[in-house]
């Protein structure tokens, strides 16, 4: 294992100290229990947005805390859901009288821990709603699985709902918006290499020099298919096809196209893939009205790519364009 770390058990804490040091104007990091909240406080009467999940997906979620996106985030250990006490403390710290929306990625651990946190919130009288994001078409959505994972769509939902909360929408409205976006977004990912969890010290899975995994998650979970490496254009086709057909996206739809690096894949390759993804979307009759290109929801140093498409309407475009000021996404401010 080759990483720029000290003790494997200290990775998350030390990285959080780094974030706190780098962005004191944007973030305040609390320890024990660990959570990150915006430094400027939640405006009175604004619905607060809280997300969280295992670490190792940076910049998600801590990097999306700030004005116009998340108000707080609970980082767990690497690839390990945070715990209810973190969520509970963050929820109480964030409530500005209008309630707190929990944005949860659909993983058994995340869902159960947020569920317990919501139970604790009931006792504390903070109004909480939870939205579960499950946009990963690589997983069959059936009773035979834990259901689809929450992946790239989470980033888009956090941005869009952050804007809605900023505009004074109520907790119910923001929660509805999150669910509406979740219904309109689909993702699919692949990996060229595995990642290595620092405390495990070894790659989560082994891939031959000529192999790739299609349909991976963001925790180094193996994917749904292992196969020979293909040229990038074919890989992009493999990711786009199930996305397009699942919703399905229709001729004439407006979309936001998000091509994401899993961490180890450099930007030159992400743009190369974006080129093909947009081409396919356009061939399909879609209009790519907005896009996002880069490492936003990663899996440590894993080399690979995910593609996310969200069907847009004028409202969503307007919310997407609204000002945002976080360590990882910033415009209009």
């Amino acid at each position: 294992m080759k990483k720029l770390i000290n003790a494997p058990d200290d990775v998350v804490t030390e990285a959080l100290h780094g974030m706190a040091a780098a962005h004191p104007d944007l973030l305040t990091v609390h320890f024990d229990p660990t959570y990150v909240i915006r430094a400027d406080g939640v405006p009175d009467g604004k619905v607060a947005l809280l997300s969280g999940g295992g670490s190792g997906h940076e910049p998600m979620h801590n990097g999306f805390v700030g004005q116009g996106m998340l108000d707080g985030a609970c980082p767990g250990e690497v690839f390990t859901s945070p715990t209810p006490d973190q969520m509970q403390a963050a929820t109480e710290a964030l409530d500005a009288g209008a309630g707190v929306l929990h944005i949860v990625k659909n993983y058994t651990g995340d869902v159960m821990n947020f569920e317990m946190a919501a139970e604790l919130a009931e006792a504390s009288e903070v109004e909480v709603q939870s939205v579960v994001v499950n946009d990963d078409v690589a997983v069959e959505d059936s009773t035979y699985t834990a259901g689809r994972r929450g992946v790239g769509g989470t980033v888009l939902i956090e941005k869009i709902c952050g804007a809605a909360a900023d505009r004074g929408h109520t907790l119910d409205e923001v929660a509805d918006l999150a669910r509406r976006c979740n219904a309109e977004v689909r993702s699919m990912g692949m990996a060229l290499t595995s990642c290595t969890v620092p405390t495990a010290g070894e790659p989560t899975f082994d891939l031959g020099e000529d192999e790739m995994e299609i349909g991976i998650g963001i925790h180094g979970e193996p994917g749904r298919q292992r196969m020979a490496v293909e040229p990038a254009d074919q890989v992009v086709e493999r990711l786009m096809e199930p996305i397009l057909s699942d919703l399905p996206f229709k001729d004439g739809d407006d979309v936001l196209l998000f091509v994401n690096s899993m961490g180890g894949t450099p930007l030159i390759e992400v743009y190369l893939a974006y080129r093909k993804a947009q081409e396919i979307a356009e061939q399909h009759g879609l209009r790519v009205v907005r896009n996002l290109v880069g490492p936003y929801i990663t899996s440590l140093e894993m080399a690979g790519l995910s593609i996310t498409m969200l069907r847009m309407d004028d409202d969503l475009v307007d919310l997407w364009d609204a000002p945002v000021h976080t360590p990882a996404l910033r415009w209009g401010v």
């Binding site: 229990p33 295992g54 767990g76 250990e77 690497v78 690839f79 390990t80 859901s81 945070p82 715990t83 209810p84 006490d85 993983y107 058994t108 651990g109 159960m112 821990n113 569920e115 317990m116 690589a138 997983v139 069959e140 009773t143 035979y144 699985t145 834990a146 994972r149 969890v197 405390t199 495990a200 070894e202 989560t204 899975f205 998650g217 925790h219 180094g220 979970e221 193996p222 749904r224």
Partner: protein, 211 residues
Amino acid sequence: MPVTAADLRAWIRAFAAQVAEERAYLTKLDSAIGDGDHGQNLNRGLSHAAEGLDNGNDDLPATMKSVAMAMISKTGGASGPLYGTFFMDAGKAVGERPSLDVAGVAELFRAGLSGVQRRGKAEPGDKTMVDALLPAVEALETAAENGEALPTALRNAKAAAEEGMKATTPLQARKGRASYLGERSKGHQDPGATSSYYLVAAAADTFGSSA
């Protein structure tokens, strides 16, 4: 001899020690069909739980609750809420009793298992910790009905849990992270069923010997 709060503490310490020892193995199992953190998760939760026992009192439910809270707040992942709920519900079930006989131990494990199932909605055969816990609970209940002594009851439970754990290998996972793999989850022993076997084994080795 019936099981006291001191025995429960010995049980948790033994479970924690076993998980610490097998941490790398549990993580390896989790790397194959999950995300490679089960050993770390449980070890983190249990070492805090074991620490919390040092200032332990002789109150059974309080002991169980302190373990539950440590598991919930320090483990994370899927196993944190599941084991946390196990101990939480187990503690509630044993109530204010000063000690437990075989039936009491069976009740404890049944309540814990019900908690796991309430929280995680897994059925037997879904390739989860339930597959190790359920046979153990059934063995304990049978032993209680048959009036077996505690060591025998727990020996049976341990054997049943081990068998249940091993029987997860050919199964296709239907819950948790391993379910994403579909068919490819077959042929690997479930990490959570493995740690649940350790939980039962630790009870057998501590309550069994103290009895």
